[in-house]
């Protein structure tokens, strides 16, 4: 089985995984944004590798430039704001919150694992048979966990984007890059961009009205005078 490991594919999978995790758990928001853009570019390399050049182009334009640009725009200082926008997530979450989220993520990963095992029986024999799918499953699990764990709105939006890319990669890995799956992924990329753009505009509106505190999610919203 060792001989069947493809160096290029494995390297790509490892890079995707490392950058996704770095992006999800970096409290420095600007750095996380750049990591997200790097992740999108790597995704487009993955599409190229999977023989979907058009999808690679769509990923660069929509995932890299437009979505990444939206996130960078979210972190630009507002013209009317006295204090600059806070680019660091200081939110602390309690241990009970963390433990429940980790348990949920484990349950979610188990469900995905079961599905994959039925779909691709050769994965059960050797996990490294399809490194990209393996990376996608881990990205989907970790992305879901990060989405549930984080309180900061921008980080949740970023987690959604990483999770989405993981889902697209799983889709392509399981169903090949046939035209219908490429169309599904393209629609998904457009939706992810529009959703991120809407979220970013919303976040800027919120910051404009209430300051950067408003970004810390639902917990702090109760403390604010309404």
């Amino acid at each position: 089985m060792i001989s069947s490991i493809n160096t290029m594919e494995s390297g790509l999978a490892v890079c995707l995984l490392v950058i996704a995790i770095a992006c999800l758990f970096d409290r420095h928001l600007l750095r996380a944004c750049w990591l997200l853009i790097l992740f999108a570019l790597l995704m487009s390399v993955a599409w190229w590798y999977l023989n979907a050049p058009w999808l690679a182009l769509v990923e660069v334009v929509l995932g890299g430039v437009l979505t990444g640009g939206s996130f960078l725009y979210a972190l630009r200082n507002l013209p009317s704001q006295r204090s600059p926008i806070v680019r660091y997530d200081h939110t602390q979450v309690g241990w009970s919150h963390r433990i429940t989220r980790v348990l949920l993520t484990v349950a979610w990963s188990l469900m995905l694992g079961v599905a994959i095992q039925f779909l691709l029986p050769d994965m059960a024999l050797s996990l490294t048979e399809h490194p990209l799918i393996l990376a996608a499953v881990v990205i989907v699990s970790v992305g879901m966990g990060a989405f549930a764990l984080h309180r900061h709105l921008l980080r949740r939006l970023m987690a959604f984007n990483v999770l989405g890319s993981g889902v697209f990669l799983m889709l392509a890995g399981m169903a090949d890059t046939r035209p219908s799956s490429q169309a599904l992924i393209s629609v998904g990329l457009v939706i992810a961009w529009l959703g991120s753009l809407l979220g970013v505009l919303l976040i800027r509106r919120l910051v404009e009205q209430e300051g950067s505190v408003a970004l810390d999610g639902e917990q702090s919203s109760t403390r604010l005078p309404s």
């Binding site: 989405g164 169903a175 035209p179 599904l184």
Partner: protein, 496 residues
């Protein structure tokens, strides 16, 4: 079951005029929306004129359906197949969507003029147009790619509309809704990915033939079910609904509660009847949650302090009735008679609720505009000063309570009959309890309004037609019960 969704081969091709009607029904709402953004109508008349061609297109399609039976369109663009089907169910849902949305659109100019006279509110029109187009596409779509795209467009347009009021509370509620809806759609997409990789097709009619009961199908059904339940605000996942409705504009809430939530529910029942025919556990689980939803939604509405919270919680409870019907539609060994009764009752309840809930939101919006407050206490004394708005609220709640002769009564009667035939006594009890709870929270509103000792306020006068439009919707919900044979004939026409 599948012929009910029109997933069989049609006998006739659509006529040339039907192609134009289809194009009109799908594209005209967007164009009307763009016109609205440019001209920003401040009276109802231009809106009526813009709605006319859309309604005509819808009626033409229904007439063609009655003549030719199921209509199907199929295009292949670069190896990707797009399929639309116009069945009796699609016809009904399209009509309800277009007429409810037209009523909401006519209500909007007056509402905006009274509440936000100097706000730049051009965005509501294109978003509303986009929403109606996406909804129409959902009722027609017969492949998973179109369904996914339409569902997402609808979701984003809905989020955009809910944010328009611009208050911080609305923005926060909207952000939460946006994040949940986006993640829900990813779960949905993952389900599609599993189906595509296992069965190799996105076409629903092909999937019906291919799908077998095995773990991969169950995981896909679970993923899609979770994503859609989140978007449809089915019971344990309904937390986002109340804050969103509380802070949104009245016409937007009306459209959202009446149609947007129902679209996700429609997709859920469509996909599950393909993926999980004759299963025991999943529909049973939904039904148990539905019973909890009926009780929980009723109790929260009963304890509510503000009018909009009451209506939003009542939506959660009313969706419970539809959830309780799931085992009757999908369960194993259901005899044809109870199945047919439950099927009729399900869609009749969905339509009646759409009309009544839109009317109720509008009536509540009128009361809130007139009194200037959204709490129930502010209703004191309104029975003398605003009898018409209160009457509309009452007629709409007749449908929600399920008193004869409303659509709610007929639908509940059909559902009860089906439940008695299949001996689901717990569901019968839940339906009864729901009726009592609905009566409790509705009469609580009236108790406040009949408070004669209240000091006299100066009430803001309403724009002409605002009460009339709400009254038309409420009466339509009532009449749907008396004339239930008309929509049901259309629903059964799929077999012809």
């Amino acid at each position: 079951m599948m012929w009910r969704f029109g997933l069989y081969d049609p006998s006739f091709d659509p006529l040339w005029m039907t192609h134009w009607a289809l194009a009109g029904a799908l594209l005209l709402p967007i164009m009307a929306g763009l016109l609205g953004a440019i001209f920003r109508p401040s009276r109802a008349l231009p809106v009526v004129l813009a709605c006319m061609p859309i309604l005509v297109a819808g009626v033409l399609m229904v007439i063609d359906y009655q003549q030719a039976g199921l209509l199907r369109w199929q295009w292949v663009i670069g190896d990707i197949e797009f399929t639309l089907r116009f069945s009796g169910l699609s016809a009904l849902m399209l009509l309800i969507t277009q007429w409810t949305a037209a009523a909401v659109a006519m209500y909007t100019p007056g509402y905006l003029r009274l509440t936000y006279p100097d706000l730049n509110n051009r965005w509501i029109w294109p978003l509303m147009g986009l929403l109606v187009s996406a909804l129409s596409l959902i009722w027609l779509a017969a492949d998973l790619l179109t369904l996914y795209a339409a569902l997402e467009i609808m979701g984003l347009a809905a989020v955009g509309m809910l944010l328009l009021s611009g208050k911080p509370a609305a923005l926060k509620a909207g952000m939460r809704y946006l994040l949940l809806a986006l993640v829900g759609s990813l779960a949905f997409l993952l389900g599609i990915a599993l189906l595509l990789s296992q069965w190799g097709s996105l076409n629903l009619a092909v999937l019906v033939e291919l799908v077998e009961q095995e773990p991969i199908t169950w995981v896909a059904a679970a993923l899609m079910g979770a994503g859609l339940a989140l978007k449809a605000a089915l019971f344990p996942l309904h937390g986002w609904l109340t804050p969103v409705h509380e802070n949104a504009w009245t016409p937007v809430s009306a459209l959202h509660a009446a149609l947007v939530i129902k679209a996700s529910l429609y997709i859920l029942i469509l996909l599950w009847s393909i993926l999980l025919p004759e299963t025991l556990l999943a529909p049973r689980l939904i039904a148990w949650l539905g019973m909890l939803a009926i009780v929980w939604g009723g109790l929260v509405a009963w304890r509510a302090d503000s009018l909009k919270t009451l209506i939003a919680s009542s939506t959660v409870g009313q969706l419970g009735y539809l959830m309780v019907a799931f085992p009757l539609l999908l369960g194993p060994g259901i005899a044809p008679l109870p199945l047919a009764l439950a099927w009729d009752g399900f869609w009749l309840h969905l339509m009646g609720h759409a009309l009544a809930k839109a009317a109720m939101f509008m009536a509540a919006g009128n009361l809130i505009i007139a009194t200037g407050e959204s709490s129930l206490n502010a209703l004191a004394g309104t029975s003398r000063r605003l009898p018409l708005s209160l009457l509309i609220f009452g007629i709409a709640s007749v449908t929600l309570m399920g008193l004869p002769p409303s659509a709610g009564f007929t639908a509940k009667w059909l559902l009860l009959q089906s439940m008695v035939l299949t001996q689901q006594w717990v569901a019968v009890a839940a339906l009864m309890a729901g009726t009592l709870l609905t009566a409790a929270y509705v009469f609580r509103v009236f108790r406040y309004s009949f408070d004669e000792t209240a000091p006299r306020h100066d009430y803001q006068p309403l724009a002409p037609g605002m009460d009339l439009i709400a009254l038309c919707l409420a009466v339509a919900a009532l009449a749907l019960g008396l004339l239930a044979h008309l929509p049901l004939a259309l629903l059964h026409g799929g077999g012809a």
